[in-house]
Symmetry: C2
Subunit: 458 residues, 2 copies
């Protein structure tokens, strides 16, 4: 869309939001790519609303002018969710960072969509409660809901779909709805909350979220343990889950990733497949969980455990896991990261990882691996140098083979990053005829295809 015919719309938006509208080219470009490896396509204009009502007014104006709308949180999505494929208006929600209501008795908090993970953590500090979902970056909660984010705690606490009680959503025509309620469960009609969670802005703009809080555990213990093989590490995770141990985190780093973190953070971990573990519970519960998992690990040939109880030591111990992404990037100076993401039934995980590592080796790409293995979910971090188009093509092909492998093993093409534009080609293969139902829903709610067009549905 060229600037000129866009001006009447822009004028209305300036009237509404004044300085909180920008057509600055650099700012627009900043909003057009996110953390993805896709080419930037900027919106024509960015707005910074402060309230649900302002979002509704913006969306209504866009509806009247038949202009696309792209919601934007922290811009940390990795599959091109914020790329403005058809230009239009980007709604940057970061100035909607108010906490609307906190109820510790009912264990929920209602926040505006622009509140970030870190901000929520700070709010809850010392309250005795916490919000468990944390992707590896400081995303906004609206963005996390939109992409159905999960992260390291999902093995125990579930994903965003399990931790959002209610949403306020602005529909494509500017109407405001509220989904769900503050009750812990409900059986009243279609589950719109779960429909909007994971919809990536294609059905409307999430402006407020009521989130489930969890009691902060009395005791937390962290551990790091190296294994002779990936299989031994994964089998330890499988046994832990099957025995009903409510482990809070169980993360696999493969040999290449361990080398990367050793180099990056000046650590001296054994460079073998390694599990990073975290246990939550009462003192007694944690002790018992630890004892059992140690036993499963020993049965799988694990070497010694490193342990940490207090927060400082825990953070130091987990440094390697926390730094995995920058550590991977540092392996190839000047490179960018293409983060893959598949999830398979846990019994297929070893096979999927083995074949994938062999494939990466054959391709000649340095591809450290990190996995939320308790869920069967893992990421291969492909390092791409901007001046190496051939490497980029190789990485894309490797990623495609990984996706097809995961689907063949009855898994899914994304465990947590979402579809955006990056995983679009695999939607028909994964969902087959069910894709028609998704398309029918999209058409029913957004008949003009103006909400984040070109994403999620091919």
């Amino acid at each position: 869309m060229s600037r000129q015919p866009f001006q009447p719309l822009a004028d209305e938006l300036y009237d509404l939001l004044g300085e909180r509208v920008t057509q600055d080219e650099a700012l627009c470009r900043e909003h057009g790519v996110g953390y993805s490896h896709h080419a930037c396509q900027p919106p024509d204009l960015v707005v910074y609303p402060h309230s649900t009502e302002e979002v509704a007014a913006v969306v209504a104006i866009c509806a009247r002018h038949q202009v696309p709308v792209v919601p934007f949180g922290a811009g940390t999505s990795v599959e091109g969710q914020v790329v403005a494929l058809r230009g239009g208006v980007c709604i940057d929600l970061r100035q909607m960072h108010q906490v609307v209501e906190v109820s510790y008795p009912d264990m929920y908090v209602t926040v505006q969509a622009g509140v970030t993970r870190n901000q929520l953590d700070e709010l809850l500090e010392g309250s005795g409660f916490f919000f468990p979902i944390g992707p590896g970056v400081n995303a906004t909660l609206g963005g996390m809901a939109s992409t159905r984010a999960s992260g390291t705690n999902a093995v125990r606490y579930g994903t965003m779909k399990d931790n959002v009680l209610a949403l306020t959503v602005v529909l494509p025509d500017g109407q405001i709805i509220r989904t769900g309620s503050k009750a812990r469960k409900s059986s009243t009609g279609y589950d719109l909350t779960r429909l909007f969670v994971g919809s990536e802005g294609t059905l409307g703009v999430i402006t407020e979220l009521t989130l489930r809080l969890h009691p902060y555990p009395e005791a937390i213990r962290a551990a790091v343990c190296a294994f002779p093989t990936v299989e031994a590490a994964v089998n330890t995770a499988i046994t832990t889950i099957q025995k009903g141990i409510p482990i809070a985190k169980v993360e696999l780093l493969d040999t290449v990733m361990m080398r990367a973190v050793n180099q990056y953070s000046d650590l001296n971990y054994v460079e073998q497949p390694t599990l990073f573990l975290e246990f939550h519970g009462s003192e007694g519960e944690v002790e018992e969980q630890v004892r059992k998992v140690q036993q499963y690990a020993a049965e799988n040939g694990a070497a010694d455990f490193l342990w940490a109880s207090d927060e400082a030591t825990r953070t130091r111990l987990w440094r390697a896991r926390i730094d995995a992404a920058p550590a991977a990037l540092a392996l190839v100076p000047g490179s960018r990261l293409m983060g893959t993401d598949v999830c398979v039934p846990i019994s297929r995980l070893t096979q999927c990882i083995h074949e994938t590592l062999a494939d990466a080796e054959e391709t000649g790409l340095l591809a450290p691996l990190v996995g939320h293995v308790g869920d069967g979910n893992f990421h291969l971090t492909l390092l791409i140098h901007p001046d190496d188009p051939e490497g980029f093509e190789k990485a894309k092909a490797l990623n495609e083979r990984l996706v097809l492998r995961a689907l063949a093993l009855e898994g899914t093409c994304s465990g947590e990053h979402g579809i955006g534009m990056g995983k679009l080609p695999y939607m028909p293969l994964e969902h087959k005829e069910a894709l028609d139902v998704m398309r029918a829903i999209k058409k029913a709610i957004d008949p003009d295809n103006r909400m984040n067009p070109g994403k999620l549905l091919p």
Copy 2:
């Protein structure tokens, strides 16, 4: 729909299923009401398919003849979900009782929709795994998914929405789709699984379900404990949840219900508000949970606990809770039961229960109460004598006031029974503008409104 113009459709169905089609009036009537207090409205015809493909063929024939379809499980729904308001074809799924696949390594089982709770329990017996969702009756799993059932274990294990991984669904035009996957999590498109869970047959027919299994706990301990007041009992439950105790069941029976079960089962419990509790975990975990909850109960003025560890004693101890429904019915010989169902944020629960019990007393109805109080969910069991139309009207009015009270307290008009036709009038009040989105989805997927018409959406 009269029999005559129906015959061409019937002939096609007879050709397809032979003896597994019936137009017998008594059988049709049996399929027209379920456990609800609504008037029976029979379908014109009942079919008993054996496979997803047969269901698809039946639904396609109905589509061609523009005839309504009502899916039927065990007929245990209580809000009139199976009443054939516009006649048509009832699809009785009880002969679809095959177990399709069991994977203990991946902790899932795939079953046909007609498999019942009890059948699944028997299958899993001794496997080391169990399926946690159990309403008070032997429902089919397809029916439980359709109404988003939960029951006593939901406080720890969630509801059907949290325990269905994937579904096979026959759409209104006869097309078969598969939603979700066997992976533990996914971020790929609209969450159709959660959309069909709770949709009460209004979007299609669920024919197969992949269910999440949970490790059978190493230790189970049950307890019964009387409190001086409802508030004291509820506060004990609230503290238990807030402290992060992963209690498996926490059920409240009020004084009237305790009297009812004492009379019915010849027990001699104290006739005071009473909590029935169950703890799951390792021996050590259970001991610790028990110790803490005993302390919270004591702080709330509880009398002594009765305890049970082995299964026989546990069942005996929980007899009162298990028999609550028949015990309530026995209070008024010859009566029928109108089971209400609301859910509120847990901090509002005491107020909601107090006002409701006072309202029942003022109305002059005997209304024993049982609550899944850990979730803020409770049922008032209204006893109606068929020969007392005035009592019936009073009960309906009491139920309506209860619903309005729950909604005013930011709760929901049904925690687990669903909408059917019984809760239809409250859908606009609870969901407001969001109802338009539900209607748009219904219209997109079932444009001719043939799937269980007249249910869920007013």
